[in-house]
C-alpha cells in the first residue's frame, strides 16, 4: 500500500487536505485532534501524519512513497535531491522565499557582487569572516559558492534569525520570508539578486520506496489529477 506523508499541523495540513480534496481524494484524521493518525478515502493509500521537516528524510529512506513538504526543506535536507525524490506537483500554497538580506544602512550593497566585495573588506578590518545567520546551511552555501562569494561564514540560527544582526551575532541573514515585514522591522533589506529559492508546498515521490506493481498502478491512476 502506498504511504502518503503529510504535515501534521496547522495551515499546511489544512491546505494539503484541501488540495487533495479538490482532486477527489478525501484525507481525514482519525481519532482525537491530538492523535497523529489518518486515512484516505477513495484510494488504497495509507495516510501518515508527521512534521513537514521530517518528510524529506522519510522520503529519502523510502519509508514514504509520497510526501508533501516545502521544496526548500527537500533541497536543504537531501544532498543531490533529484536523485532521491521526484517533484510530482507544485501545489500552489505555502509560498515562501529564501532570501539573503543585509542591513538597510548598507546603502553601498545591492547585489551579491557588492556582498562579496564587502566580505573581503570586512574580514580585513574585523579579523573574522562576515557572518551570515541561517538555518539553511546547504542551500546558502551552494548558492554563494555558485555565485563566487567568498570570505563569509555561516552561523547557525534556528529561530528569530532576523534579530541576529541587531544583536551583533551576524552581519547578514538568509531566511524564509513571505511578506518581508519582519525583515523591514529589523532594519534589513533583501539583495536584488538575493533570492536563493522560491519555495512552495510540493508533492514529492520517493525514488527509494518499494514501488511494487500495485503501488505503481495507484500512482499512475492518480497522476493525471495531480498535474
Amino acid at each position: 500500500m502506498i504511504r502518503l506523508g503529510v504535515p501534521s499541523k496547522g495551515r499546511l495540513m489544512e491546505k494539503t487536505f484541501d488540495w487533495f480534496g479538490a482532486r477527489g481524494l478525501t484525507l481525514e484524521r482519525t481519532g482525537s485532534d491530538r492523535e497523529y493518525a489518518g486515512r484516505v478515502q477513495g484510494a488504497d493509500i495509507a495516510l501518515v501524519l508527521l512534521s513537514a521537516g521530517e518528510i524529506p528524510r522519510e522520503l529519502a529512506a523510502g519509508r514514504l512513497h509520497l510526501g508533501v513538504t516545502g521544496s526548500d526543506l527537500v533541497r536543504e535536507k537531501l544532498p543531490a535531491w533529484q536523485t532521491r525524490v521526484e517533484a510530482v506537483a507544485a501545489m500552489g500554497f505555502g509560498h515562501a522565499d529564501l532570501v539573503l538580506a543585509v542591513p538597510n544602512v548598507w546603502v553601498d550593497v545591492d547585489t551579491l557582487d557588492d556582498l562579496d566585495s564587502v566580505a573581503a573588506a570586512f574580514r580585513a578590518s574585523h579579523g573574522h569572516r562576515l557572518r551570515i545567520a541561517t538555518k539553511y546551511h546547504r542551500l546558502v552555501r551552494e548558492f554563494l559558492r555558485d555565485h563566487g562569494v567568498a570570505d563569509y561564514q555561516l552561523v547557525d540560527s534556528q529561530g528569530a534569525t532576523e534579530g541576529t544582526v541587531l544583536n551583533q551575532s551576524a552581519e547578514a541573514i538568509a531566511d524564509i520570508t513571505s511578506t518581508g515585514e519582519t525583515l523591514r522591522a529589523n532594519h534589513l533589506k533583501v539583495l536584488s539578486d538575493g533570492l536563493i529559492h522560491a519555495s512552495q508546498a510540493t508533492l514529492f515521490r520517493s525514488l527509494a520506496a518499494p514501488w511494487d506493481a500495485a503501488a505503481h498502478a495507484v500512482l499512475e491512476e492518480l497522476r493525471p489529477r495531480f498535474v
Binding site: 578590518s125 569572516r129 552555501r141 567568498a150
Partner: protein
C-alpha cells in the same frame, strides 16, 4: 574501502619518497577546524567531516595533510626540508554516491627557496617516477603567470586585488575581468552614483535609517567613496585584457608555450619574471629527463585543484580513464606558507599520490 594491497602500495611509494631524502611526517586525523575554515572558507564544510570535542571545540577529520605540515614546518623554524607522509584523507561526498569518503594519500613536500625551478622539477620527476609503471599522463600549469599578469594590469590597486583574490574562482574572475575591461556593463547603480556627486557619503548613510550590526557607518561611507572612485576608472586596456584571455586559453606543449608568453611580457612587463621562471623550470625538467616538448602545459591548469596553488601545478591522470580523479596532483604554494606562518613564508612545492586508484589500473 582501503585494502591491505592499498596500504602495501602506499608503503612502497612512501619508501620511494624516503629514499629521495624526505623525513617522515605524522599528523592527527582530528584537526582543529579553525585554521581550515580560515583558509578554505565555508566551502570546506561541504568537503570535510566536522565533529565537535567538548573542550577543543569544532574539529575536522583531516581533509588534507598540507595545512598541518605547513603549520608545523613554519613553527619549527622553516629551515629547508623534505617531508613525506602516508595516511587517510576524509572527504564528504555531497553529490557523487560512488566516490570514497576515506582514502589514502602519500605525499612529498619540499620547503626550500634556493632554486624554485629545481625544486619544482624534483617533485614532479619524483612523482612521475613513482607512477611510471602505470603510464600516468602528466599535465602542468603555472598560476604564477596569471597572478603576475594581474599584478601588472594598468588599473586601480583595488581592482587588481579583487582579481587576485578570485584567481581560484574562474567564473567570478571572468565576471570581474569583463566588467573591468568594459566587455560587460558596469553595475547598475547610477542613482547612487548621482547622489554621490551632490551629497557626502556620510550624509547618504545617515539618511538610510538605523545602523545595525558590526559593520560600521564609517565602513559603509568609505566604500561609497570607493564606489565613486571606481566608477571613474577607465577600462583595463584591450591589449592587457587580451593577454589575460590568452593566458587563460593557452594550452600547448611546455616548450612551445615559452616564446608566446615572452611575447606577452613585452606588452605586460610584470609577466617577465614569471616567464623567466617558466623557462628555468623547463630547463630543470629537461635536466631530470622530462622532455618539455612533450609535456602538456596550460597556465590556468590547477585553478580548481586547490586554493592557494600560486605557481607550478601538475596532475597525473590514468590513461583512457577520464572517469577517474587524477592519480596524483601537486603544485607550488608559496603564499600559503606566509598565511600559516604568520606573515613570513618560505617557498614550498609538493604533491600527493592516491595509491587506492592504482589498483584499478593494469
Amino acid at each position: 574501502m582501503i585494502s591491505t594491497a592499498d596500504r602495501a602500495r602506499a608503503a612502497d611509494i612512501l619508501a620511494h619518497f624516503r629514499d629521495a631524502g624526505a623525513q617522515m611526517f605524522e599528523a592527527d586525523v582530528l584537526q582543529p577546524a579553525g585554521a581550515l575554515l580560515d583558509l578554505y572558507g565555508e566551502d570546506i564544510r561541504a568537503r570535510a567531516f566536522t565533529t565537535t570535542d567538548p573542550i577543543a571545540g569544532e574539529m575536522m577529520l583531516r581533509p588534507d595533510f598540507t595545512v598541518p605540515i605547513v603549520q608545523r614546518h613554519m613553527a619549527s623554524g622553516a629551515a629547508p626540508a623534505r617531508y613525506c607522509y602516508a595516511g587517510e584523507i576524509f572527504r564528504r561526498q555531497e553529490t557523487d554516491e560512488g566516490r570514497p569518503r576515506e582514502y589514502l594519500q602519500v605525499g612529498f613536500e619540499l620547503f626550500d627557496g634556493g632554486d624554485p625551478a629545481a625544486a619544482d622539477a624534483e617533485v614532479f620527476a619524483l612523482i612521475a617516477d613513482v607512477l611510471a609503471p602505470w603510464s600516468a599522463v602528466p599535465a602542468t600549469g603555472d598560476l604564477g603567470l596569471l597572478i603576475a599578469a594581474v599584478e601588472g594590469l594598468g588599473t586601480s590597486p583595488e581592482r587588481r586585488a579583487a582579481l587576485r583574490r578570485h584567481i581560484w574562482r574562474p567564473a567570478r574572475f571572468r565576471r570581474l575581468m569583463d566588467r573591468y575591461s568594459g566587455a560587460a556593463p558596469a553595475p547598475a547603480r547610477a542613482a547612487l552614483l548621482d547622489r554621490l556627486t551632490a551629497e557626502t557619503p556620510e550624509a547618504i548613510v545617515a539618511e538610510a535609517g538605523q545602523a545595525v550590526g558590526q559593520r560600521s557607518v564609517t565602513e559603509v561611507a568609505a566604500r561609497l567613496a570607493h564606489l565613486a572612485q571606481d566608477a571613474a576608472q577607465p577600462p583595463i586596456h584591450a591589449t592587457e585584457a587580451q593577454i589575460i584571455n590568452a593566458l587563460l586559453s593557452l594550452d600547448a606543449p611546455l616548450a612551445e608555450a615559452i616564446d608566446p608568453i615572452r611575447d606577452m611580457a613585452a606588452d605586460l612587463p610584470s609577466l617577465a619574471p614569471a616567464a623567466n621562471a617558466l623557462a628555468a623550470r623547463a630547463d630543470a625538467l629537461a635536466r631530470r629527463g622530462i622532455d618539455p616538448a612533450k609535456l602538456p602545459f596550460a597556465p590556468a591548469r590547477g585553478r580548481s585543484l586547490m586554493e592557494y596553488y600560486d605557481g607550478f601545478t601538475f596532475t597525473f591522470s590514468a590513461p583512457n580513464r577520464p572517469d577517474l580523479p587524477p592519480l596524483a596532483t601537486g603544485g607550488r604554494y608559496d603564499a600559503l606558507t606566509a598565511i600559516l606562518g604568520g606573515g613570513t613564508g618560505v617557498p614550498a612545492v609538493g604533491g600527493v599520490v592516491r595509491p587506492g586508484l592504482l589498483k584499478v589500473l593494469p
